[in-house]
Structures are given as structure tokens and as C-alpha cells.
């Protein structure tokens, strides 16, 4: 349903992505995996229209997205969870969620406050606290919940495990599995192969702005050469 075909992206004059293609279908979790600076975030931002894309096509449910302004892409049903969390620190948890609200969308699961507070019990307790006072893990949960408030048709999840304690990462894995169970496809960006293998069906390996490998998670785990070349630290 989400497809990216041969895009080239730039930050100003710097050519960052070359010929990047990927696809995401209903109900699957796909990981975009690569080292620091490989181009994961740039790919996701390209889909969101936050980075200049000069060539190639991006479409969602058959509708072209390239060149559209960010808010319209979000309105088409692409949910974006940024890296570094970016919660609105001076708004309460509840207000953060309200900011993410969009009307329900046909063919996409519908999320109400109560559903989200079930999914993220911590947030229910912290409802009236300022988001800036939450812990890193809680903030990560909040960004995911905030995006779900928009009842998206798919989710772009940029490095949700970054800088979080193992216990929190486990919670995030559970959340991803629960979201997946609702049939909502997720494009996950990640550096950690182990974390990726716990939730993903398929994988794309990215390095210096090019896709170097694509296949099932199983195939990637079997392929020592690719792992050695592009993922070993």
C-alpha cells in the first residue's frame, strides 16, 4: 500500500539518498536497518515531505505523495513517529494526544483515548502532567500514542529504541506487536538487528543512502556476509 520507488533526496546541495525503493503492505512490519548516518531518517522524512525529493515516486494506496506538503501527507493517513521523540514539552500528555487527533479513517483501526490508555497504562496516570517532565521511555510511548490518535493507515516509526533501557525496549516491542495485531502496517527504522528480528517480517538494509539488501527477516539473519558488511559495528 505504501510504495517508494527510486527516490533521490537532498539536504540543500548534499545528495543523501540514491535510488531508494521500498514497499510496505497491509499487516506487515518492515524494518529499514542500517548504521548511524545510513539514511534511515532521511528516507522516512522523504516520505513525509520533510526533505527535498528530486526524483522518483512515492505513493500510498495508489495516490501520489511526492511534492505534497507534509500536513497533507499526514492527512492521507501516514502516521509519523519521529526520532528523538519530539513531544510538545510544555503541553500536558492529554493535550499532546489532542494535538494528534484526526477524524477516523476508513479501513484503518480507530483509536480512542481509552484504547490508548489501555495500550499505555503509564500515560493514563500521567495524563495531566507536562510532557516535558516524562521519562525518555514515557515520551517515546507518548509520541507513538500521539500518532495513533490520528487513526493512521500506516506508521513510520523512526528508531523507537534509541537510548532506552532494555525494560522499556521490551515494552515498546509489545506495543508494536499489539499495533501490528490490529492490521496496521509499520515501517520501522532501526540499527539493532536483534530488536528488529523480534518484530519484523521483512527487512531493507540501507547504507550511505542506497538500499543494499532486501528480503525476509529470516533471509537477512541467514546472510552473514550482508550483516558483516553493512550492520557490524
Amino acid at each position: 500500500m505504501l510504495s517508494v520507488e527510486k527516490i533521490h533526496s537532498y539536504y540543500g546541495q548534499a545528495h543523501i539518498l540514491t535510488d531508494v525503493s521500498l514497499a510496505l503492505s497491509t499487516g506487515e512490519v518492515v524494518v529499514l536497518i542500517g548504521r548511524n548516518g545510513a539514511g534511515k531518517s532521511t528516507t522516512i522524512k522523504s516520505i513525509m515531505g520533510m526533505v527535498k525529493v528530486t526524483e522518483g515516486d512515492i505513493s500510498f494506496d495508489g495516490e501520489a505523495l511526492r511534492g505534497e506538503p507534509t500536513h497533507r501527507i499526514a492527512r492521507r493517513g501516514i502516521g509519523y513517529v519521529p526520532e528523538e521523540r519530539r513531544v510538545f514539552t510544555r503541553l500536558t500528555v492529554q493535550e499532546n494526544l489532542e494535538a494528534g487527533q484526526q477524524p477516523p479513517r476508513e479501513g484503518a483501526p480507530r483509536w480512542r483515548f481509552d484504547d490508548l490508555f489501555d495500550l499505555f497504562p503509564n500515560l493514563a496516570e500521567a495524563r495531566h502532567r507536562l510532557a516535558g517532565t516524562l521519562s525518555g521511555g514515557e515520551q517515546q510511548m507518548l509520541t507513538i500514542a500521539r500518532t495513533l490518535m490520528g487513526n493512521p493507515g500506516c506508521i513510520l516509526l523512526d528508531e523507537p529504541s534509541e537510548g532506552l533501557a532494555p525494560v522499556v525496549v521490551e515494552q515498546i516491542i509489545k506495543v508494536i506487536q499489539q499495533i501490528k495485531a490490529q492490521g496496521l502496517p509499520i515501517l520501522l527504522s532501526e540499527q539493532n538487528l536483534y530488536f528488529a528480528s523480534l518484530v519484523s517480517d521483512r527487512a531493507y538494509v540501507i547504507e550511505t543512502g542506497r538500499i543494499r539488501f532486501s528480503g525476509t527477516m529470516h533471509e537477512l539473519e541467514e546472510n552473514a556476509e550482508i550483516r558483516q558488511q553493512y550492520l557490524a559495528v
Binding site: 513525509m48 520533510m50 506538503p69 507534509t70 500536513h71 499526514a74 492527512r75 509519523y80 519521529p82 519530539r86 510538545f88 514539552t89 510544555r90 503541553l91 493535550e95 499532546n96 489532542e98 494535538a99 494528534g100 487527533q101 484526526q102 500521539r146 500518532t147 490520528g150
Partner: protein, 630 residues
């Protein structure tokens, strides 16, 4: 005792209108990051619209308030047009262009108001049912003041509800933190910006309208409230509505009590209060420190380089032309060229501050006028000889710059700009009001050069030597180690601090130097005209300098000269029209929208590659490459 109580209440009453206007400014800045210099004009329009609507529909108690609301709506509509036509195209432009564009709006509004309502001050209509006087423990006080006292907190509460209890308000608050993220959640930023701008404009309009029964409507309201508004916003903390309220109350009380204690010194009191608060809390009472992402930048990317061979030839040709000019043209044109030389020096000093120091001053005329007044006062009261006065004037202006700069360099970006404007307005007010010494609006007359220099020809050469010498001196400073250090500061404060540059001190030195050079230009000015009036220190004069820099292009060192010439030409062409401000304003807005690089900047950009106007990159650029290779 009751006198003080009434005084206190009347201070609260005048705080309301100020708070309304300032909160609008603050809200607009919070979301769009644009300091709307035309906000004072919106306030003024609110008063004029209110005046008209009260006459048309304002019969009876309800009609009056309805008319005031209508005035606010009308100003909101004006804001809508300004946002859609001008600002929307400039959100991504360097802030200087936004500020200049809103200054164009000030000029346009001034003339439209003059055309629509005439030059006479209008006496405000009285509010039906609230015309009387109450006695508070025997001391009389207008009933309307009580209504005003209520208005401030009422609007504060309404704004609080709007921003905390509606989704729109939540989105606005979210956008002040992270606009891109708000867009990524599906919110149309353009709509949000427009809405915020309209709301802010309406608040300014309402502020202007509710003070009608007290202060009426006149054409000086725009700049008058602008400086006060900036002080309120800087003292209260940018972006904080409650802070704006507290600051408005504080400053209004200071004014009302100040008049009792020290009638001539209210401006000085305001100045001291602002100084104390800024030294103790640089972000204002309730402001937060600027985050890195929001840091306002002056935004000059192209590096200044020493002149290339062709450019030097070009300069030499221009100088040669200036030297033989008296043979070619008559006295009329010589006088015109003297004007251009004076303004070129003035503009170059500002350009130095902006391009090298990254400090966009909106009050540079304080030093130009300061130099002019220093010379004029020396001649008038101390019978100082012309030559000595010419020498002392830049020192006087430099001293003024030292005092003002000491406060201003503590702030950066738009805060710096606002503070310089506020200080310049204070300086203007002092000159304007202190008529025992300065002769106020009548100016100081009969300030002529010594006999040997009084002929047009000799004075022309004198002005040529001084102005060109001054400009070369500024150039020398730019390419001296001090100038390089300053630019390092501008480009990266952190890095500059790391290599041991004392940033604030360096900026202060630059500020004082620029002020002194502006003062020199001012001294030349006063001797060329024989008189000086407070206008030379006014905010419009500061904007003239900015306009010259802008016309010439901020990135080009010869820009200010081209700008001064273009400005003088433009001014002389336009001044013959009755509504020249309107034309000038429209020209400014058009120029900003069409040539964001300025005239000389654009020409240089397109021609530069062919004509080798700049020296080959050396120094800094090479080092960067080496660093990368290493």
C-alpha cells in the same frame, strides 16, 4: 492616601490597552517567529476604526461596545490581508526582510490613515453610561477607567481559555514549540499562522479601540505604542501572555507614579526598570531562554571578501568621478551628493554592525542623531569651534552607544532589534521633550561650519574626505583581525567562545564603533544643513538606514553606498507627492518581495562571476578545506 489609590487604579487602567497590544505581538511572534513592526499601526487603526464605528453604529451602551468589537474585527481583516499578501511569502526569508516589510506596512498605514481620517487629532467618543466620575475616598476618578481595569484581566482570562481549552489553542501552543511536528500530525501550518496573525492583529485593534475615550486617536500612536510594546514584551518575556500582562501593569504603574515623583523623568524610569530586569533576568520576567532551534539569525550566508582587482578599479573610477564632480555639475547636484555621502557613511556603519557583527539594530539613528545633536549642542552652548565639534560628535555618539549597547548586546536576534528600537525611541523622546536644552520640535538652528569651510565646494571636498575616509576605516576594521573575530562570533557563538573570544565585549566594541561612525555622519549632516531636528533620531530615520542597506544588499560592501544613492533618489522623487509615505511603503514591500538580495546584491550576484568583483577565496575557505582533508 486615596490619591495614591486612584493613581494606582489609573495605572491599571492604562495597562489594559498596552497589555492587549503587547499580547498580540507576543502571540504572533511565538508561532510565526515574525516580530510584527506594524503592530503599532494596527493599534492605531483600531483607534481610528473605533472612532468611525462609534459614530456610525455606536448609539447606546451596547452599540458602543459593539462598535469597538467591530473595530477589532476590521483590524483583524487588515491583518489577514497583510499576512496573505506579504508575510506568507517571507516566513522562510531572513528576518531582516520580514521586519523591513512590516515597516513598509507602517508607512502605508500612516498615509492611508492620514487620507481617511485627516491630520487632526481626534477626540475619543465617550462610552455611554460610563461618562461620569466616581469618588474613591473623595478623590475623583473616571468611571470608564474601571471598565478598562476590568478589560485587561477579562481578555487575559479569555486568552487563557482559548489556549488551554480549545484544540486550536493547543495546536498554537504546540506550534510555538515545534512547527514541523505539528505539520507532521496533519495540521495545515499556513492556516494556523494566518489565524494567529489575525488574532494578534485583532488584539492590537481592540487595544487601540478601548483606549479611545481616554486617549483618542492620532497619527503618532503607532510609534508611540510600538516602543512601549517592545519594552513590555522584552520585560515580560517573549511569548508569555501572563508575562506581558505583568509587565504592562508594572510599566503603567511606573509611569503613573513616576509622574508624581519625577514628572520629567518617566522615560528614564522606564529605562532603568528595563535595565534592572534585563540584567537580573535576560529572558524577561516569565520568558524562557531561546532554544537553539528557534534562535533568530540575521542570515547572511555569503562571506565578505576583500575586493578583487576589477572591483578595486571600479572603486577607483567612482572616486575619480567624485573628485572631478564639481567641474561637471552645478551646486544643486553637489549638495545632493553631499547628502548621499553623509547617508552612505551612516548606512555603512549600520551595515558593518549587521554583516560583520550579525547585529541588526533598529535604532541606529539614535547615534546618527546623537552625533548631530552632540555637535549642535557643543556649538550652541559651548561655542565650540566647528573643527572640534566635528571631532567630538563621534565621541559623544560613541558614548551613547556604549550606554545603550551595554544593555543591548546581552540579547540577540530579534530581542536585540527590539531593544535597540526601544532605546532609540527613548532617546528621541528625551530630545523631543527636553525643550529647555534641545529646543524640542523647533530644533537647533544656525549650526554652520567655520568660514573657510562654508562654501559648497570646500564643504563638498571636506564631506568627501570624511565620508570616504570613514567608509575606508570601516572596511579596514572588517578585514582586520578584530573583524574576523567578530564574524567568527556571528557564525558560531559557541565556537567563538571556545577559542577564547569574549563575545559580549567584542559586540559592544563593534556597537560603539558603529555608533561613533554614525555620529560622525550625523555631525557632517548638521553642518551641511545648519540645523537639526528630533526627526534625525526617530525610528523612521533608523529604518531609512536599514532601507539603504537593504536596497544596496546586505552582502555587498559597496551596497550601502549604492543604497544611499538609490534611497536619496527615491526619496527626492517621492517627496513631491502628497502621499509619499504610501508610495515609499509600497516600494519597500515590492522590493522585499521581488529582490530579497537588494539591488547591489542582486547585480553583484549576477555579474560577479564575469567581472571578478571579489578576490579569490583565501584564508578561511582554504582552512576549511584543509580541515576536511585532514
Amino acid at each position: 492616601m486615596s490619591v495614591y489609590l486612584v493613581q494606582f487604579l489609573s495605572g491599571l487602567a492604562s495597562a489594559s490597552a498596552l497589555f492587549l497590544a503587547a499580547s498580540g505581538l507576543s502571540i504572533i511572534f511565538g508561532v510565526t517567529r515574525v516580530v510584527n513592526f506594524a503592530h503599532g499601526s494596527f493599534y492605531m487603526l483600531g483607534a481610528f476604526f473605533g472612532y468611525t464605528f462609534v459614530r456610525e453604529v455606536g448609539g447606546g451602551g451596547i452599540g458602543f461596545w459593539f462598535a469597538l468589537l467591530l473595530a477589532a474585527l476590521a483590524v483583524g481583516l487588515v491583518g489577514l490581508v497583510v499576512e496573505l499578501v506579504i508575510l506568507r511569502r517571507l516566513y522562510k526569508a531572513p528576518e531582516l526582510f520580514q521586519l523591513i516589510a512590516t515597516f513598509g506596512v507602517i508607512l502605508i498605514v500612516q498615509d492611508v490613515a492620514l487620507w481617511a481620517w485627516g491630520a487632526e487629532d481626534l477626540l475619543g467618543p465617550r462610552a455611554p453610561g460610563l461618562t461620569g466620575i466616581v469618588r474613591i475616598f473623595g478623590t475623583p476618578m473616571p468611571v470608564y477607567d474601571l471598565a478598562l481595569i476590568a478589560a485587561g484581566p477579562l481578555v487575559l482570562a479569555a486568552l487563557w481559555l482559548l489556549f488551554n481549552r480549545t484544540r486550536w489553542g493547543i495546536l498554537v501552543r504546540a506550534a510555538t514549540e515545534d512547527r514541523e511536528m505539528v505539520a507532521a500530525l496533519g495540521v495545515n501550518q499556513s492556516l494556523l499562522f494566518t489565524g494567529v496573525f489575525v488574532l494578534g492583529s485583532m488584539l492590537a485593534g481592540l487595544g487601540g479601540a478601548i483606549q479611545l475615550p481616554k486617549g483618542g486617536a492620532d497619527l503618532l500612536m503607532d510609534f508611540g505604542i510600538l516602543a512601549e510594546m517592545f519594552v513590555v514584551v522584552v520585560v515580560g518575556g517573549m511569548g508569555s501572555i501572563l508575562g506581558a500582562f505583568l509587565a504592562a501593569v508594572l510599566i503603567s504603574l511606573l509611569n503613573t507614579f513616576g509622574i508624581l515623583v519625577w514628572p520629567d523623568g518617566t522615560l528614564v524610569l522606564m529605562f532603568i526598570l528595563m535595565a534592572v530586569i534585563l540584567v537580573v533576568r535576560p529572558t524577561g520576567l516569565l520568558g524562557r531562554p531561546e532554544t537553539a532551534g528557534h534562535k533568530a539569525e540575521a542570515g547572511f550566508e555569503t562571506a565578505l571578501r576583500p575586493a578583487g582587482p576589477h572591483y578595486k578599479l571600479f572603486i577607483a573610477a567612482v572616486l575619480a568621478l567624485l573628485l572631478v564632480l564639481p567641474v561637471l555639475v552645478g551646486e544643486f547636484y553637489l549638495i545632493l551628493v553631499i547628502d548621499i555621502l553623509v547617508l552612505a557613511l551612516f548606512a555603512t556603519s549600520l551595515h558593518f554592525l549587521m554583516s560583520t557583527g550579525g547585529l541588526v539594530s533598529f535604532g541606529h539613528a539614535a547615534f546618527y542623531g546623537g552625533g548631530a545633536y552632540a555637535a549642535a549642542l557643543l556649538v550652541t552652548y559651548a561655542a565650540t569651534p566647528f573643527e572640534l565639534a566635528l571631532l567630538l560628535a563621534p565621541l559623544g555618539a560613541g558614548l551613547l552607544a556604549l550606554v545603550i549597547g551595554w544593555f543591548c548586546v546581552r540579547l540577540s536576534g530579534v530581542y536585540f532589534a527590539m531593544l535597540t528600537l526601544a532605546f532609540a525611541q527613548v532617546a528621541w523622546s528625551i530630545v523631543f521633550q527636553w525643550s529647555d536644552v534641545t529646543n524640542g520640535d523647533d530644533g537647533l538652528l544656525g549650526i554652520w561650519p567655520s568660514a573657510w569651510a562654508s562654501g559648497t565646494l570646500v564643504f563638498y571636498f571636506l564631506a568627501l574626505v570624511i565620508a570616504v575616509g570613514g567608509i575606508f576605516l570601516i572596511r579596514r576594521v572588517i578585514f582586520a583581525p578584530f573583524g574576523y573575530g567578530l564574524r567568527a562570533t556571528r557564525d558560531s557563538t559557541l565556537r567563538a567562545a571556545a577559542i577564547g573570544i569574549d563575545i559580549k565585549r567584542q559586540q559592544l566594541v563593534a556597537f560603539v564603533f558603529a555608533g561613533a561612525m554614525a555620529g560622525l555622519a550625523g555631525a557632517l549632516f548638521v553642518f551641511s544643513k545648519g540645523s537639526v531636528f528630533p526627526d534625525e533620531m526617530s525610528i523612521p530615520r533608523s529604518f531609512d538606514a536599514l532601507l539603504m542597506v537593504l536596497l544596496g544588499g546586505v552582502e555587498s560592501l559597496s551596497g550601502p553606498f549604492v543604497g544611499a544613492a538609490a534611497f536619496t533618489y527615491l526619496h527626492d522623487e517621492l517627496i513631491t507627492f502628497e502621499y509619499w509615505r504610501l508610495l515609499l511603503g509600497l516600494t519597500i514591500v515590492a522590493l522585499v518581495l521581488l529582490f530579497p538580495q537588494g539591488l547591489a546584491g542582486a547585480a553583484k550576484h549576477y555579474l560577479g562571476r564575469y567581472l571578478k568583483l571579489e578576490a579569490e577565496p583565501t584564508g578561511a575557505a582554504v582552512t576549511k578545506r584543509e580541515v576536511r582533508e585532514a
